[in-house]
């Protein structure tokens, strides 16, 4: 286990060293490809000046706001649809249609409707998060073995008892994998929606740095976005490990 971690670190360091060397030896312009050391210096400088913080905050608000809204609607609708075949059949075409339509293409329209504030971005992020959560909730709630359903029937469990004590616990790992997918997608959603029209946020910063031909800054933002995505993904993972581990019996690797 420790050896594998060492190797992944080595790959990282090796890549950085090669990158740095190529940039220096070939004298590549920093507008095309800035050196890792230059990016690091840029990151440190902007953190020290406090330049990044309002942008990080803005994107975080959009990501979390949209993520929670999308999660609530996705999981909620998932519950509703999993309840009965009828609701499933009625709603299914609309839900698939809503997913087939590229949601990011809606961004210009949402800007038109809601202006340039937080609202259109949160709506986009929510739309992006919705589907993986809806899908995983429906799958999870319907993936109960027939034996367990027969057991609950023989014990005369009511519909709500079967839902709460059997279907929901079975769905837990599915919902969490949906959350992990959704949280990473929500960063993508927030950035793209900022491309369309925003003066704050990490996506807006990418557009600004493009305008200023400040490629180094752009790379710094890439790194911030990657780290943000990883932190969010890991937070979901830790929430699951700490509070919901017992529902994850089938995966021994969850430690």
């Amino acid at each position: 286990m420790k050896m594998t971690k060492l190797y992944s670190c080595l790959i990282f360091i090796f890549t950085l060293v090669v990158w740095e060397m190529v940039v220096r030896v070939k004298e590549i312009s920093k507008i095309i490809l800035p050196a890792p050391t230059a990016i690091a210096a840029n990151l440190i400088q902007h953190f020290q000046s406090g330049y990044f913080y309002p942008h990080i905050l803005t994107t975080t608000i959009e990501v979390l706001g949209g993520f929670f809204a999308g999660a609530i609607v996705g999981i909620g609708l998932g519950f509703l649809v999993a309840q009965s075949k009828t609701t499933q059949e009625i709603l299914q075409p609309y839900i698939i249609a809503s997913q087939a339509m590229p949601k990011l293409a809606l961004a210009p329209l949402l800007v038109l409707w809601f202006g340039f504030g937080y609202t259109p971005k949160i709506v986009i992020v929510a739309l992006v998060c919705f589907f993986p959560l809806f899908e995983s909730t429906v799958t999870g709630l319907s993936h109960v073995s027939r034996e367990k359903l027969a057991l609950f029937r023989s014990l005369k469990a009511s519909r709500s008892q079967t839902l709460l004590k059997l279907r929901l616990p079975t769905a837990m790992p599915y919902i969490f994998s949906g959350l992990r997918v959704a949280v990473v997608l929500s960063v993508v959603g927030a950035v793209i929606s900022e491309f369309i029209g925003a003066n704050k946020g990490l996506g807006a910063l990418i557009i600004a740095s493009q305008g200023m031909l400040d490629t180094t800054l752009m790379f710094s933002v890439f790194i911030l976005l990657t780290v943000k995505g990883m932190i969010l993904y890991q937070s979901i993972h830790w929430i699951e490990v700490i509070f919901f581990k017992k529902y994850h019996y089938s995966r021994g690797d969850l430690k």
Partner: protein
């Protein structure tokens, strides 16, 4: 007192297909242990599910404790072929399940669950999760879960079929003690004729297509029975008799 009474029941899954069961009559007396044997596909499980109220017969009636059965009732506990446990619950929480679905679980219930667990040989294992248990231990948990609600009637569908021979023998022996202790009337399905003979007061042979009761055997050995009984020549004779009756059915029921 007659606890289970099936009168002329038939079951047909589809209108134009052959019935699975037809003209089945079966009565079980209070405290009796009855096994149903028969080849696979002979409708044993179907019959048991009907008695448990999980399936409705197309014809005829089933009375348990003098009431007609249309759905599962509280006095009956059904034990499934595979040990069906909820993986996210500890042994104790699994055993408490039937009570939890009826009412708020009290400390008293927990103590009782621990007692029942001890009776099936699972002292101090109540905090474990199902994936930490062996197949035999899982079966023991399902037994404990079956007995916690002190069922008047216990319906068991090949509960030991997936176990190794040693564990199976031990659990058969313990099941006899438990049914005695909780005075549960038991209907037990098995394809293991030695098991049927060892456990039962009476063995019912199901056969033919559509299936009905072909033959009944009273098992003459008094209870409590010792494990040694299986080596007794008179016991072997009973097993042989059962075996020959099944063989005599030929392949028609396949």
């Amino acid at each position: 007192m007659t606890i289970i009474a099936c009168h002329d029941i038939a079951l047909q899954f589809k209108k134009d297909s052959l019935p699975v069961l037809e003209h089945v009559d079966l009565e079980v007396q209070e405290g009796e242990f009855v096994s149903i044997i028969g080849k696979s596909g002979s409708g044993k499980t179907t019959l048991l599910q009907m008695i448990g109220g999980l399936l409705s017969p197309s014809k005829g009636s089933i009375h348990l404790l003098n009431q007609e059965i249309t759905e599962p009732i509280d006095e009956v506990t059904y034990v499934f072929q595979k040990p069906v446990l909820l993986e996210w619950r500890t042994v104790l929480e699994n055993v408490l399940m039937p009570l939890e679905l009826k009412k708020r679980v009290t400390q008293e219930d927990r103590d009782k669950a621990k007692k029942v667990l001890a009776a099936v040989g699972l002292e101090n294992q109540e905090g474990k999760y199902p994936h930490e248990l062996s197949g035999g231990m899982m079966s023991r948990v399902t037994l404990a879960r079956a007995f916690i609600s002190e069922p008047k009637i216990l319906l068991m569908d090949e509960p030991f079929s997936a176990l190794d021979a040693m564990t199976k023998e031990q659990l058969q022996f313990e099941l006899l003690l438990l049914t005695k202790q909780f005075s549960a009337t038991t209907v037990f399905i098995t394809h293991d004729i030695t098991e049927a003979a060892f456990l039962s007061d009476r063995v019912i042979l199901l056969g033919n297509t559509p299936a009905n009761v072909v033959q009944e055997f009273a098992i003459p050995f008094s209870k409590p029975r010792s494990k040694e009984l299986k080596f007794d020549p008179s016991f072997t004779e009973v097993v042989r008799e059962l075996y020959q009756s099944i063989e005599a059915l030929g392949d028609r029921s396949k």
